[in-house]
């Protein structure tokens, strides 16, 4: 192992990082250590060895191979100015602000050519399409009740893990035996154990772009209800970018929550970029998603971004999450078919695709929220 070899491995790792692979210092150290046991002059051996050390998934293989080929062909002295940084330069839409769209929902829709047809809009008498502000107290309470009931269900299912309890059906032998020592080995006081309740987490990602406005107020109320029911709920909103609103929603009244919300997410751009928003979500939150997590996306699927990006983000999410639910308010309309490019790209990755345009549809959601 020469200094030159170590140096080139370090440079190579840097090159991998520049191409988007995350290589940790610990892995660089492992790679450098590996030089002691491999023969750097043998290219195949170097390739196979470094690949098994520096990649962590088959998804990394292609980039690794390309970078490897280029790097070691330049006789270990890479021209570092030639490093191409992969960065998306997708044009940003002009910022208009969520508030603007809350006021002008549906009247403008940047990016998409077609006007948006809102199902049930003619049906204004029903509670479903009534603006949140027109909701009676009783109706608002019903939404909160519903949210609470759903959250309670989340907590009720038993997991396969145990916890000790004072009274139960299964004896906790480990504890009981220990207790029995006090009574000379006679089992007198038994302690018990029971299945720990399954702790299902809920991540709610709500579309608040212009095309969704009619529903997003209602749905935010629902999310507010979920958020304030003593469960593990994280909530997010997105239009062209994503914001976590868990903290904002944790307010005593919905009105206060809404006030804080609109104060904090001002300056948003107008259209919908679901793919970009979800990939932002994945970057920051994917680590927290596991098989005991239900992810709910509330959106009409009108996306001005590339459907490929949406599909890729959803695929990533799907692999980690216990269940992926997409609630589309438009689905409540009989003549709606999910033919938008965004929706088409999304469908293969969704476990439950359901409407969310009225109270009944939210109620129908209950059974899907048990893992």
């Amino acid at each position: 192992m020469s200094d030159l070899e170590v140096e080139s491995v370090v440079l190579f790792c840097r090159e991998l990082r520049a191409h988007g692979l995350s290589v940790t210092p610990a892995e660089v150290v492992t790679a450098a250590t590996a030089l002691r046991v491999i023969d750097m002059t043998n290219r195949d051996e170097t390739f196979l060895s470094l690949r098994s050390i520096l990649t962590t998934s088959i998804d990394d293989f292609q980039i690794f191979e390309e970078v490897f080929k280029r790097f070691w062909n330049q006789s270990h002295s890479p021209n570092r100015t030639a490093i191409v940084r992969t960065q998306s330069n997708s044009p940003r839409q002009s910022p208009k602000g969520l508030a603007f769209f809350l006021e002008h929902w549906g009247s403008s829709f940047s990016g998409g050519a077609q006007p948006i047809k809102v199902p049930g809009a003619s049906d204004t008498e029903s509670a479903a399409t009534k603006d949140f502000s027109e909701f009676s107290n009783e109706e608002l309470k019903e939404i909160s009740r519903l949210a609470r009931r759903i959250v309670r269900r989340l907590a009720r299912k038993p997991s396969r893990r145990w916890r000790p309890v004072k009274r139960g059906h299964r004896v906790n032998l480990r504890r009981s035996l220990r207790l029995s020592l006090k009574t000379g080995g006679e089992l007198i006081d038994l302690t018990y154990k029971e299945r720990r309740p399954k702790r299902t987490k809920l991540f709610v990602i709500c579309d608040v772009s212009g095309s969704m406005d009619l529903y997003s107020r209602l749905l935010l109320q629902f999310v507010y209800g979920l958020q304030n029911s003593f469960a593990k709920v994280e909530s997010f909103v997105f239009a062209t970018s994503l914001a976590r609103i868990t903290g904002e929603l944790k307010n005593k009244t919905y009105q206060r929550a809404l006030d804080r919300l609109s104060a904090n997410i001002r300056g948003w751009s107008g259209g919908t970029r679901i793919g970009a928003s979800l990939s932002m979500f994945n970057d920051q939150w994917l680590r927290r998603i596991d098989k005991r997590t239900i992810v709910i996306i509330l959106s009409d699927g009108w996306d001005t971004g590339e459907p490929e990006k949406l599909a890729a983000s959803l695929a990533q999410l799907k692999r980690r999450a216990g269940r992926l639910i997409w609630l589309n308010p438009l689905l409540g309309s009989a003549d709606y078919a999910p033919v938008t490019r965004g929706m088409q790209a999304a469908l293969p990755f969704i476990n439950v695709f359901a409407p969310a345009h009225d109270l009944a549809s939210l109620r129908a959601l209950e059974p899907h929220l048990v893992l």
């Binding site: 023969d39 962590t56 480990r174």
Partner: protein, 292 residues
Amino acid sequence: MREEVRQIQRLLEEQVYIADAAIATALYLSMALGKPLLVEGPAGVGKTEIAKALASALNTRLIRLQCYEGLDATTALYEWNYPKQLLHLKLEESSSASEAEKEAMIFSEAFLLKRPLLQAITEHDRAPVLLIDEIDRSDEEFEAFLLEVLSDFQVTIPEIGPIKATHRPHVVLTSNRSRDLSDALRRRCLYHWIDYPTLEKELEIVRAKVPGIAETLSSQVAQVIQATRTMSLSKIPGVAETLDWANALVALQAPALNEEIVAETLGCFLKDESDIAAFKAELPRITTEYTD
């Protein structure tokens, strides 16, 4: 290829495991650097076989931990032998030992039931092969716990104290990618991906594992299986299925494939009703293409 890698390849071949340079290099590095090896790939490509072959090649014990949801430390690491503890207390009832002495006695190593992870750490003679199978089926808590064990090969039992590995086990983890593993675990391991074998490799495997199979039959079997994998099926046949089928054909003393025999035996490699229907529709084409 370096001598050590070639030697591993030879040793595995003696165990009738066909290893390519990539897997042999990964195993070599894993042993040389003392790092766990994470093996990923579709179901039925022989991920588990690697650990088995490695154990017999090294002439050491294979300790297997099958993962499932809810797997916890008491099933993976250790549990106290309660009946034995109770019996012992009964026997000692009349003895003058103090409570503390009794406690120290029944919570000693003699009353410990060693589960796979503890077995792997306390193996006396030589480093065993520890196979942690289908890690993607366990839950996050267990993964975090495992990370702790794999980082220093030491576990602490409250009643006894820390137990350090006498020999660092060779660790192989397998995953079907049913969920993403944590980054921390991935980075702790070397990584290897096994895909479905190429036609040549599959043929080699069939000939090695199914002694007495005729040359034409084996190549027809391998070709039909390869063609089947390109169809869109819900359950793609793995190498295990290829071998099942080849064995069945040998048992039926089929000299070569024809439409009838394939139709009779396709249950060996297709395990799904709709897959069978899809395959049957393609059967005439496949048989004319791959048989004479």
